[in-house]
Amino acid sequence: MQKKRFSLSGFAPLLVTLAFLAGFFYSDLRTGDVRRALYAAQTVPQRVNLALQIEQDAQQGYLWPVGLYWDVLSRLRSHYYQPLNEKQLTYAAIRGMLASLHDPYTRFMDPTEYRSMQEDTRGDFFGIGAQLQEKEGQIVIYRPIEGSPADKAGIRAGDVIVEVDRKPVAGMRVDDVVKKIRGPRGTKVELTIRRKGEAKLLHISIVRDLITSPVVYSYMEDEKLGIGRIRLEQFNEKCDQLLVQKVRELEGKGLRALILDLRYNPGGLLNVAVDVASRFIDNGVVVLIQEKNGQITKLHAERGRALKPYPLVVLVNEWSASASEIVAGAIRDNKRGVIIGETTFGKGLVQTIFQLQDSSAVAITTAKYLTPSGYDLNRKVDPDGNEIRRGGIQPDIVVKQSEEMTDIDDRAHDVQLKKAVEYLREKLTAPKVASAL
């Protein structure tokens, strides 16, 4: 008797556990679907977690997108007439959800797109060395990287790509065009280009190569008066150091006034933009970062890094974006220099990339840049693609580029540069009224 009681209390918990499992699998085993039963068992913790999380959210407000997505997809699953690819449906739903934000930089990347993006930023890809951009439904060269195969082959900013290897690209997405252009090192790709002012399409063959990071260039525009020019191609880690080095070189040649050329500069790293701005602004705010909920963070120029306060002109055009716009805006708002050229691109957004469970990812605009005076740099477009706000930095002196200018080093036709030099010449040679008195 003693023995029996002992064994019963030993087996009873096991019995209870078995009963629980039997209950758990009852409905599945009755229908004979063992696979589903196992799947259910395996995902209990995950499901319970997610459900609790959703429950919590739901209490704070109706979870619109998730609820509707769920509703529609589960109905499609059980009743749609054709077989479905639920993953693609979900990707489409995510893209549609993000598109409704009317923010082209908040976007979803499926695993393939995400991988390709990672390759981009790592820099170990073989391409032609040109950044592309979609503009009004066309694929446009944003900027060829100096010294790259594209640059050497004569590709210019603003060129419209009509075909890649004689296949039309109209209607394709930029990412897909980039994929077509990329390939093994040493192989050729042919672009069909439409260029402003050219009656005929150009067919340009380019050899793919390793693309190296761009640099900083310096020029002496007027040796007599000492008007120098520094051109930044983009804001990468070496930029600030090279800038100082190039300015020292110019100083050796008698620098008295400086042109900071940010044309065709698509931006880059924010901290580099602050470093570069600190070379011109000794004491002041460089940029405001507006985060969610309107919270604003001020980034100040780093004291003690400024160069000599040369009279300064910043050259910009519609391809100057992001970090370029930050620097131009900082110089303008701190009244450190004059902006000459054309209204800039209008992109002052910070994206953060979040990797998702299935190695896809989502890039989300998490903050925006305002110039020190609080001006929002961003161009805004309504759902129909009409511009509702131009954004960008408007130059103090607007100078349209000459149609005859062939490339960035065609100084003979560079009317923007001419204007900048002319402005500084006047400034340097004008009689100093105050001191004369």
């Binding site: 008797m1 059980s78 969610k292």
Partner: protein, 462 residues
């Protein structure tokens, strides 16, 4: 000893039962938990619960083993939403609704099926009203017809049937007319970029073609906008450009509000009854019953006019069929069952009230369940079909209301005739061809029908 043992066994036994119950309950939660909580505003109602009253073309889908959406995908979607909500600089709670609509619209669009689409509350309301016979706008049943020619996919806004007394009918719109422009704006029917690509033009011609394509798209109306302006009662007079066969014509229409009586009847000379069924809505069976009573039981023949009948709900058509034909089956619906297909019969309890011979009038505007009925009357009530080939639309569309008043329609199956014949994309051919457009006020098809019926009665009499 027994007593002592049971004292220890009983609690364990009860606990075991409780454990079983908890296990069972938990397993049930796994299927339904995310549904119930993700969407607290509404219980996830099954399609069956929705359909009888609210669908205009119901799918008789039994409760299959509807497995839940994969948790991984749910999690993926949920994470993206949470990232936007928590991190996006411009996010405001008012954006959740457009985000939800944007998500669902894009998801449905990705299926590339013109009949599976999202409807915002206003669009959903219009569609439901239309199923009740209330039409706004030009008063025509429209359908996006997809076809592929030379590798270019076209989605053309096509008139299935102008409704009787509607602005569309007054303007002379005909079944099969393709609306290509509204007030001179192109109704975007295909991707012009693709067309340019396929055309093989090169060089400067290509450049020009691409620029033209871009201008066309920018100035055009997408199908949704086009639909919206055609169903807007407050829109003033508009000019439609219509493609009819190989010719193009311009038609002026003034949109309005229209209430369609689903059944009309009159007695023709020689005791021939004329019965027009305009669409199959909730009122149709009742109205038909009184129409048949009104025509009396001494009919020598009956003309059932299904011209320009775009279809409607299956329930309504079933009840109509029951009054006219002696058949246990109205149609067969083919649905998906996992990777395979399943066929189900739409059963009816036949109680025919008409003994006289029947002639059915059909035309290009006879569509969907109306085509099914025409075939049934032909095969099971000895009716002769007179007129033109029918529209050839066999898709079963289901209207699914969503909790906030929006909805979506989806293709849930395909109608086959009672014997399993597939008429989708083909239409049904009449035994006697007759033009169904009025010629100098003469309805030639109706005259033909009446003469067939009276001939028959005379032969029978002699």
């Amino acid at each position: 000893m027994v007593v002592r043992a049971s004292r220890h066994v009983l609690p364990w036994f009860l606990l075991a039962i409780a454990a079983f119950a908890v296990g069972w309950w938990l397993r049930q939660q796994i299927v339904t938990l995310p549904v119930a909580t993700a969407n607290p505003g509404a219980r996830l109602t099954s399609l069956q619960e929705y359909s009888p009253k609210q669908s205009y073309s119901m799918a008789l889908t039994p409760s299959d083993n509807a497995s839940p959406v994969s948790m991984d995908l749910m999690q993926l979607f949920y994470s993206v939403f949470k990232y936007v909500e928590k991190q996006h600089v411009d996010y405001t709670p008012e954006m959740t609704k457009p985000m939800a609509y944007g998500a669902v619209r894009a998801m449905l669009q990705s299926l590339n099926d013109p009949n599976t689409r999202f409807l915002e509350p206003e669009e959903a309301r219009l569609l439901q009203e239309a199923a009740q016979g209330n039409y706004y706008g030009i008063g025509a049943v429209l359908r996006v017809v997809r076809n592929v020619t030379q590798d270019i996919e076209r989605r053309e806004l096509t008139v299935v049937a102008p409704l009787p007394g509607s602005p569309a009918e007054r303007a002379g719109l005909q079944p099969g007319d393709v609306i290509t422009e509204i007030d001179g704006k192109w109704v975007i029917a295909y991707d012009p970029f693709r067309q340019v690509q396929r055309s093989g033009v090169r060089g400067n011609e290509l450049v020009k073609a691409l620029e033209d394509a871009r201008k066309r798209v920018l100035a055009g109306l997408d199908l949704r906008k086009a639909m919206r302006s055609l169903t807007n009662k407050d829109q003033g007079a508009m000019t439609l450009t219509v493609r009819r066969g190989n010719s193009t014509l311009k038609v002026k229409v003034t949109p309005g509000v229209l209430n369609v009586d689903p059944v009309a009847y009159r007695l023709l000379p020689g005791q021939v009854g004329y019965l027009r069924i305009v669409q199959f809505n909730t009122q149709t069976p009742e109205k038909l019953k009184s129409a048949l009573a009104g025509l009396g039981n001494r009919l020598q023949g009956l003309v059932v006019d299904l011209r320009n009948n775009p279809g409607g709900s299956v329930e309504s058509a079933s009840q109509v069929a029951a009054m006219l034909a002696k058949s246990p089956v109205l149609a067969v619906i083919e649905t998906r069952n996992g990777e395979s297909r399943r066929r189900q019969q739409v059963n009816i309890s036949a109680n025919p009230r008409v003994k006289a011979p029947i002639v059915v009038l059909v035309n290009r505007g006879t569509a969907n369940v109306a085509e099914v009925l025409a075939v049934l009357l032909r095969d099971k009530a000895g009716a002769k079909l007179v007129g033109e080939r029918t529209f050839g639309d066999g898709l079963v569309q289901t209207f699914v209301p969503l909790p906030d008043g929006s909805a979506f329609t989806m293709t849930t199956g395909k109608f086959l005739t009672w014997s399993g014949g597939d008429f989708h994309g083909k239409g049904v051919y009449p035994a006697v061809a007759a033009p169904t457009v009025l010629k100098q006020g003469h309805d030639l098809a109706l005259e033909k029908a009446v003469s067939l019926l009276t001939q028959r009665t005379t032969t029978r009499a002699s």
